[in-house]
C-alpha cells in the first residue's frame, strides 16, 4: 500500500441541471511528489480541488487527506495544508504584511514566519505596499506566501501560473520545485499546459470532461508520449520514399513530407540512410510537436 497524501475515491459531481462535471474520479497524490493535475479549461480541475478542500459539497465518493476522511477531520486536515484556488484571494485594502498577519493569527503560527515566507516568495521589499498596488505576479506570490505561512506539509495550487508573464511563470515554477526539493512539501498543482507540468511534476494526472484519463509517474507519461511522437521527413520524391520505407511504421504522406511513428534515435538515422542510399534527397527531418490535444487523442484512443 502506497502512502497517498490525497486520495479521492469514486468522486462524482454534477450540477443541479444534471450536467456531469466529475465522473468516478480517483486521484492519488503520493507523499513527496509534485503532482501535475492536467486538463483543458472546463475539464473539472478546479471543481475537483474545491471538493478536496471542502469548498464544494461532495455528492458521491470519498475524499481522504493524510489518510483521513475530510468531513470528519476538517480542521485537523486544514491545519496541515495550504491552498491557492483560482485568482489570489487577498484583502486588497491592506498591505502585503497585514494580509499575512491576519492569516498568521488564524493559523496561530509564530510571528517570524511572516519574514520567512516573504523571503521565500521574494516580496520583502513590497511588504508595506497595499495589495491593491501589486502586479498580478506579486499578488500570486503573496497568495503563495499565505499558503506557506503555517509551514504546511501539502500545498494545493490551482493554476498558479495563470495570467503571469514568462518571467513570472519561470519564477513560480522554480518556487514550486524548491518547495518540493528543499522543503519536502507535497504539491498538487493544476495546469492546462502540458509543457508546464512536464517541467516541474514528478507525477501526472490528466483529466478531461470530468474523467481521469491517465495517472502515474512522469516517466510513464513520457513513454506514452513517445508512442505518439512522429518523425516528419521532407523528401524529393514521396512515391519512391514510400516504397523504400515499407519496413518502417509509415503513418501518412503530406505533400512532400512523409510522417512515420517515432521509434528511437537510431531508427530515425536508419530512415535517413535508407532514403539517401536509394538516391532520394532528404531536405528536412523533424520531430512533430506533442501538445495536450494530441496526447488526449492518443490516450482516449487506447481506451
Amino acid at each position: 500500500m502506497k502512502n497517498y497524501i490525497i486520495e479521492t475515491k469514486g468522486l462524482d459531481f454534477s450540477f443541479r441541471s444534471g450536467q456531469k462535471i466529475l465522473q468516478d474520479l480517483c486521484l492519488q497524490v503520493p507523499a513527496g511528489s509534485v503532482y501535475g493535475f492536467l486538463g483543458p479549461n472546463g475539464a473539472g480541475k478546479t471543481t475537483t480541488l474545491r471538493i478536496i478542500l471542502g469548498l464544494l459539497k461532495r455528492q458521491e465518493g470519498e475524499v481522504l487527506l493524510f489518510g483521513k476522511n475530510f468531513s470528519q477531520h476538517r480542521l485537523e486536515i486544514l491545519r496541515r495544508l495550504g491552498s491557492l484556488i483560482e485568482q489570489p484571494s487577498l484583502y486588497l485594502h491592506l498591505t502585503g504584511r497585514e494580509n499575512l498577519e491576519l492569516f498568521r493569527l488564524n493559523y496561530g503560527c509564530e510571528r517570524n514566519r511572516i519574514d520567512k515566507v516573504l523571503e521565500i516568495v521574494r516580496l520583502k521589499d513590497a511588504a508595506r505596499k497595499k495589495a491593491k498596488a501589486y502586479s498580478l505576479g506579486m499578488k500570486q506570490r503573496l497568495a503563495i506566501a499565505i499558503a506557506l505561512l503555517h509551514d504546511p506539509e501539502l500545498l494545493i495550487l490551482d493554476e498558479p501560473t495563470n495570467g503571469l508573464d514568462p518571467n513570472g511563470i519561470i519564477e513560480t515554477r522554480e518556487l514550486i520545485r524548491t518547495l518540493n526539493k528543499e522543503y519536502g512539501k507535497t504539491i498538487l498543482v493544476s495546469s492546462h499546459l502540458l509543457s508546464e507540468v512536464e517541467k516541474m511534476a514528478t507525477h501526472v494526472g490528466i483529466i478531461n470532461k470530468g474523467k481521469l484519463l491517465f495517472q502515474g509517474a512522469l516517466q510513464e507519461l513520457q513513454q506514452l508520449k513517445s508512442k505518439q511522437s512522429a518523425v516528419e521527413v521532407e523528401v524529393s520524391d514521396t512515391l519512391r520514399a514510400e516504397t523504400i520505407l515499407r519496413n518502417f511504421p509509415l503513418r501518412q504522406v503530406n505533400g512532400t513530407r512523409v510522417l512515420l511513428n517515432y521509434e528511437s534515435r537510431e531508427r530515425t538515422a536508419e530512415i535517413t540512410r535508407a532514403l539517401v542510399t536509394e538516391g532520394v534527397d532528404v531536405y528536412q527531418v523533424s520531430m512533430t510537436q506533442n501538445d495536450l490535444e494530441n496526447l488526449f487523442i492518443q490516450i482516449t484512443s487506447e481506451q
Binding site: 485594502h93 498577519e101 496561530g108
Partner: protein, 255 residues
C-alpha cells in the same frame, strides 16, 4: 475560546481602512452635529423650547431621527460592508480553507457587526453630550452646564434601542451572507425600514422587526420594562441567527 477571540480580532482588522469605520463615526455624529448647529444658529427659539433643564428635550430631539432612520440604515449598511469585504476580495475561499470551524467564521463576523453597532451607540451618546456642551460654550444662554447630564436615561434609551435593533441584525446578516451582490441586502433592508415607518400605526407592527427602533422611540421610550415588540426582537434575533447558521453549515458551495 481563545482562538475565537483571536479570530474575531482578525475580523476587526479586516475592517481597517474600509468605509465601516467612517460610516460608524458619520452615523453617530450626524444628528448631534445638525442639532448643535441648529442650537448655535437659532439660539433664542431653542433656549425657549428647551426650558430650565434642557437635557430631557435635547435627548429626545437627538434620538428621534436617529431611532427611526439613522440607526436602522446604519445597521443595514454596516452589516453589508463587513460581509462584503470577503465577497469583494474573493476571500471567502481563503477563510473557509483556514483551520476555523464554521461556527467560528459565522459568529466572529457577527460579533464585529455588533461591536460596530455598539460603538456607534456609544459614540452617539458622547456626541449628544459634547454637542450640547459646545452649543453652550458658544451660546452661554443655554443651561446645559447648570444641569446634570441624564446618564441613566441615556443608557436606558441606548439599551432599549439596541434590543430593538437586534432582530434586524440577524436578518440583514443572513441576507448579506447569502447575496453576493451587496446592493441586494442594502435595497431590501432600506425598503423594509421605510415600509415600517409608513406602517407605524398598524396594530400588528410589533411583529415587524424593521420598525422596532421607531416603535420603541415613539411608543415605549419611558418604560424600563421590555415591551412586547422588544421581546419579539430578541426572538427574531435568536431564531433567524440559528437558521442562518444552520444554512451556513449546510451550504453546497463556499467562496
Amino acid at each position: 475560546m481563545a482562538t475565537f477571540l483571536i479570530n474575531t480580532k482578525t475580523e476587526l482588522w479586516k475592517c481597517r481602512k474600509t468605509a465601516a469605520y467612517w460610516i460608524t463615526i458619520a452615523a453617530s455624529a450626524l444628528v448631534p452635529l445638525i442639532l448643535t448647529i441648529a442650537y448655535i444658529t437659532n439660539t433664542p427659539e431653542f433656549v425657549k423650547d428647551l426650558g430650565v433643564n434642557p437635557w430631557p428635550l435635547h435627548v429626545v430631539n437627538t434620538w428621534q431621527a436617529a431611532a427611526a432612520l439613522i440607526f436602522p440604515f446604519y445597521t443595514i449598511i454596516v452589516t453589508s460592508l463587513v460581509v462584503q469585504i470577503e465577497y469583494r476580495n474573493n476571500t471567502w475561499k481563503q477563510v473557509y480553507t483556514s483551520p476555523r470551524s464554521y461556527a467560528d467564521i459565522f459568529f466572529s463576523k457577527f460579533c464585529i457587526v455588533h461591536l460596530l453597532i455598539l460603538s456607534c451607540f456609544i459614540l452617539f451618546a458622547l456626541f449628544l453630550v459634547s454637542g450640547a456642551y459646545i452649543a453652550n460654550i458658544v451660546r452661554p444662554q443655554y443651561k446645559f452646564f447648570e444641569n446634570a447630564v441624564p446618564w441613566g436615561n441615556l443608557i436606558k434609551m441606548a439599551a432599549k434601542q439596541y434590543i430593538a435593533i437586534l432582530g434586524m441584525t440577524s436578518i440583514q446578516y443572513w441576507l448579506s451572507l447569502r447575496l453576493r451582490n451587496y446592493i441586494a441586502p442594502l435595497g431590501i433592508g432600506l425598503a423594509l425600514v421605510i415600509g415600517g415607518i409608513i406602517m407605524l400605526d398598524w396594530n400588528k407592527i410589533i411583529y415587524y422587526p424593521y420598525a422596532y427602533t421607531a416603535v420603541t422611540f415613539f411608543k415605549n421610550k419611558g418604560s424600563y420594562a421590555l415591551a412586547s415588540h422588544e421581546i419579539y426582537s430578541i426572538c427574531w434575533f435568536i431564531g433567524v441567527l440559528a437558521l442562518a447558521f444552520f444554512d451556513t453549515t449546510r451550504r453546497r458551495e463556499r467562496g
